[in-house]
Each structure stands twice: as structure tokens, then as C-alpha cells.
């Protein structure tokens, strides 16, 4: 496992006392987390605990109500320029892939570089093909998303985000909508990215992935980060009652976690 950046360098994500309400419902209740450059943090917790809301706040798909979020030195506030700057650095992969169905795989990848980064189309295509090659989909560049399997679509979605050369990648349950036999191919790509030192925040229940790849596991329950610890400690000796309960459920449901540990 690669070492996260030594603590001397400032963390790339700093979240302090984050609060979020949906109407009267208090969904995030004072979440604080720092993520070091090059670190992979897995966020897990029961359904409805606020994991998606939390990582969607990190690129401002959800607006937070209180607290501060700083990404690579930029504070996320009402300033549109800050928002744009953050979105340029943060890529996101969704549970439902959200590929653009009217565009080919290649066009999905080149749209944002050409329109947002103003990359020359030829250069954007070259880069897109290289990334497709990395996720082993170079042969599928001319296809439309609907012609691909779920696992292939999710790998395209990852490549699409990487085309923007993000410093940070957010994953919201990237394998939850996949058939079991396709999960590993997506996890493999993510593992490789983590090993290369990309900063990643991953919401997932794939505990095998968490054990093998994460530097830290953050356990969320009812809008709070109950426990944040390296995987060995989190899985070996969870401190909180709620984490123990959650892991117990997960192990029973899953027969010990998928993937190697």
C-alpha cells in the first residue's frame, strides 16, 4: 500500500463541521474530515446515513448549510468562480454511470475537455483514446453507452472523469448497480488509480476493496462520522458499538466481504 503524503503537506480536502438539512431533516450533523494528497478514504455506513449527501457536498452538487469545505486551498462558497475551480479538480463517478446516451463513448470523453478546458478536439481525442485503453475499452470508442455492459459503462464513466485530469475523484457506490460478475473489473481500475496516487473518496460497501486499498475507512451513521481509522484497525477492532453492529450485518449478508483482503 502506498503511503499517503506525510502530514507536513497540507491536506487537499478539509471539511469542518459540515451541516446539511433537507427541509426539517438534519442529514449531516457536524461532519469534519481531512483527506491528504494521494490518500484513498472509503466512506461506509448504513443506507440513509448521509454518505451520498456528504460526498456530493464536496463538489457542490449539494449545497451545505453550515461549516466549511476547502478543496486544494479553494473554499466552496457562493462564489461561482470557486465552484468552477473546484469542479475542474474534482471528478465524480455515480452509481448509475450517468453517461450521455446520445453521444458515443469517445464523444462522452471529449465533451468536457473540449467545451470546458478548451482542449483542441484532436488532442482531446488522443487523450480520450489513451484513457479508454487504460480501462481496456479502446475497441468500444465508437459505440453508444447502451451497447455496453454495466461494468463497461462504469469504466467509461471513470475514464470520462479522468479526461478532465482531476486531482481528486469521488465515487458514490460505483459498483452497487452492477451485476456481481462485473464488480471486480471496476474495482480493479479504481485500485490502479489509488496506487498511482490519485486522491479518492469512495462510498462503497465493498469491504475487500476497503481493506486492500483504503488508507482510512470513515464510518458514517445518522449524519455523523462515528469512526475514522485505518482499515486494519477499523475491521480488526472497531471502537464504536454502531460500527461493530454495521460490520456484523455486512459480514452476515456478504459472507465475509468480496475481493481479496
Amino acid at each position: 500500500m502506498p503511503e499517503a503524503t506525510p502530514p507536513s503537506e497540507p491536506p487537499i480536502i478539509v471539511v469542518t463541521d459540515l451541516h446539511k438539512w433537507f427541509g426539517a431533516q438534519h442529514v449531516l450533523r457536524g461532519v469534519s474530515l481531512e483527506v491528504a494528497r494521494g490518500e484513498t478514504v472509503v466512506v461506509c455506513g448504513p443506507s440513509g446515513s448521509g454518505k451520498s449527501t456528504f460526498i456530493r457536498c464536496l463538489n457542490h452538487l449539494e449545497e451545505h448549510d453550515r461549516g466549511t469545505i476547502m478543496v486544494d486551498g479553494i473554499t466552496l462558497d457562493r462564489d461561482v468562480r470557486h465552484l468552477q475551480a473546484v469542479r475542474r479538480e474534482v471528478g465524480m463517478v455515480f452509481q448509475q454511470f450517468n453517461l450521455f446516451p446520445h453521444l458515443t463513448v469517445l464523444e462522452n470523453l471529449t465533451l468536457a475537455p473540449v467545451r470546458v478546458r478548451k482542449t483542441k478536439p484532436v488532442a482531446a481525442e488522443r487523450q480520450a483514446l489513451a484513457l479508454l485503453d487504460r480501462v481496456q475499452l479502446a475497441d468500444h470508442a465508437a459505440k453508444y453507452p447502451a451497447q455496453l455492459s454495466g461494468g463497461q459503462q462504469q469504466r467509461v464513466a471513470i475514464a470520462r472523469s479522468l479526461c478532465m485530469l482531476p486531482k481528486i475523484m469521488l465515487f458514490d457506490e460505483p459498483t452497487s448497480a452492477l451485476d456481481p460478475e462485473m464488480i471486480q473489473e471496476v474495482l480493479d481500475v479504481m485500485t490502479e488509480l489509488a496506487r498511482e496516487g490519485l486522491t479518492m473518496v469512495v462510498v462503497t460497501h465493498e469491504m475487500g476493496f476497503a481493506r486492500a486499498v483504503a488508507h482510512r475507512v470513515a464510518f458514517m451513521d445518522q449524519g455523523e462520522l462515528v469512526e475514522v481509522a485505518p482499515p486494519a484497525q477499523f475491521f480488526g477492532a472497531p471502537q464504536s458499538e454502531r460500527a461493530r453492529e454495521f460490520l456484523g450485518h455486512l459480514l452476515r449478508a456478504d459472507g465475509g466481504g468480496r475481493g481479496g483482503a
Binding site: 468552477q84 455515480f94 450521455f100 470546458v116 451497447q147
Partner: protein
Amino acid sequence: MSVADAGALAPARRAPFRSPADAALSAAIAGALAWLAWKVVRWAVLDATWSGDGIEACHARGGACWAFVRDKARLILFGTYPYEEQWRAALATALVIALFAATSVPRLRRPALAWAWLASAGVVVALMRGRGAGLAYVDTSRWGGLPLTLVLATVGLALAFPLGVALALARTSGLFVPRLLATTYVELVRGVPLVTVLFMASVMFPLFLPSGWNLDKLLRAQAGIVLFAAAYLAEVVRGGLQTVARGQLEAAAALGLGYLGTMRFVVLPQALGAVVPPLVNTAIGLFKDTSLVVVIGLLDLTNAAKLAMSDPRWLGAVVEGYVFIGTIYFLFCFTLSKLSRSLERSRAHA
């Protein structure tokens, strides 16, 4: 899509003679159709009169009086456009028809064609209006017949479409004032018949203009049609916008696309693609509704035909007149609906 089609239509595509009841029904329908076809052929061809200079010439044979159409074709097609200059109107019409034809070929649908449309708009106006280039000036009040119908419908759609898209975007935006304005506009215009809009355009526009200015009648009618059609198109487009999944907006936002980029490259292509049939439906409706410009005294195809029928020499040649213009309307509307099908096919990947 072909699989789904076959599934939905499977019962209708069974062999027609499977059971005695089927056979009897099929035979009865075939018989009725044959009888009808025979009646039509007798009226339109066998008993028809092809030449003559008055309705009396046709009375003897009892069939269709095509002599009327022959005699009045130029009045119906070009209205009161000066007789000696009608070649200009014919040329303009041919140009528009050629462009329609080109547009219905998928291979030719590329940006250059849009420019060709734009350039032709200028050519059509120059031809029809004249003045300069050695062409005599023809006031727009004398434009009429098919070219007038084509101009009103084509320009109407070309301008109403972007306006409709803008209205739909405003109506679905999170911004209160644009939403309120767009909603009010659409509901007001939709609640009023086109005749009323045209009438108001004709009477009310001049009130807003500085005194001494006079917006010509054709422009007023055109503006009325654009404003009217935009409201209907806006609702069709809004329906399309609702089919686009929320996740598409989130993915676009996460990639850093702003509002305009998201709409232009992600949302609108999907939204418009989803509503091609109702869009074309609205276009066809508009094409036919242009005949309502008669209320402000313009002589489009329908009204030129009515004028021709009112000639005392040809009193009674009503069916022939309507069959003639009906065929013309049909050819255009049918082309439009073919265009719709080909657009649907060309985006039906996977």
C-alpha cells in the same frame, strides 16, 4: 426498435385469411375499397373534362372539371403576384422545395445545409420582392399562393423554434421571474385561437410603433405566426426536457459544464430527440394553419384557390379546387412526416 414494433403490431400482421371470419371481413373490406377506387377513378379520370373555358364545358361528362385547375393554376399557385413576374415566384418556390427535399436526405443533413437555408431566405426575398438586380419591385401585399404559404410556414417555424426552446428553458429554470414570464406567455397565447392572434397582430402592432411607421401586413402576419407557434413548440420542448434524467444534469455539472453548455450539449439533444414526432406534428399543424392569414387579407394558397373558385365562369368547381390544393398541402405535410421518421431512425442507436 424493430423488435418492439413487431411485437406491438404482431396481431395486425397475421395472415389476413386465417379463419373464415377473417376471410369474410378481409373480402368485404377489399370489395368496399375496390368500389371506392373505381368511383374515384371514374370521377377523376374517365369522366373528367380536361379543357374548356367555363364550368359548362364540364357539365356534359359529369366527372371532375380539371379544366378549371388548368385555367386557374397560376392564380391558385401565385395569387395576385403580377402575371408577367410569376416566374420569380415559381423560382423561389422551387428553391424552397429543393431545400425541403435535400433536408429529407439524412446524408445531406450537415451544417452546410443550414447555411444553404439561411442564404436561400435572402434569395427568396430578393426574388419575390425585386427592386435591384433588374427585377421590378413587387409589394408584399401582392405576394400570394404557394410561395406565401411556404414563406409564412418556413420562416414561422425557423423563428418560433428557438423562441419556443428559450421559453421552455425559462419555464423549467429555477429562476422565478423568467419562469413566471414564460408560463404567463405560453398560457395566454395557447388560450387564444390563431385567428385572434393574427387579428391582434394586424391591429395592435401598429399601435406600438412610432407614428409614421408602418409595418407591412406580411410582417405582421409573420410575427403573429411566430409568436403563436412558439407557445406550442415551447410546450412540446418542455415535455422533452422532462424526459431527461436528473443524473445527466449532475454528470454534466460534475464535469464542469455550466448551464448553457449543459443545456446545449447534454440536455437539449436528448430532449428534442425524444419529442421529434410531436414537434413535427406541431410543424404540420402550423403549415396548414397559415391559411388563417386570410383574416388580415393575405392571399395564401387556400385563399387564392377560394378566389379562383369565385370566378363566375367556374362557379361550382369547388371540389376540384380543394383536391388540387389538398394535394399540395398533403405532399408537403407528408414530406415533413417522412422527415420525422428519418430523424427518429437516425437517432435510434442501440
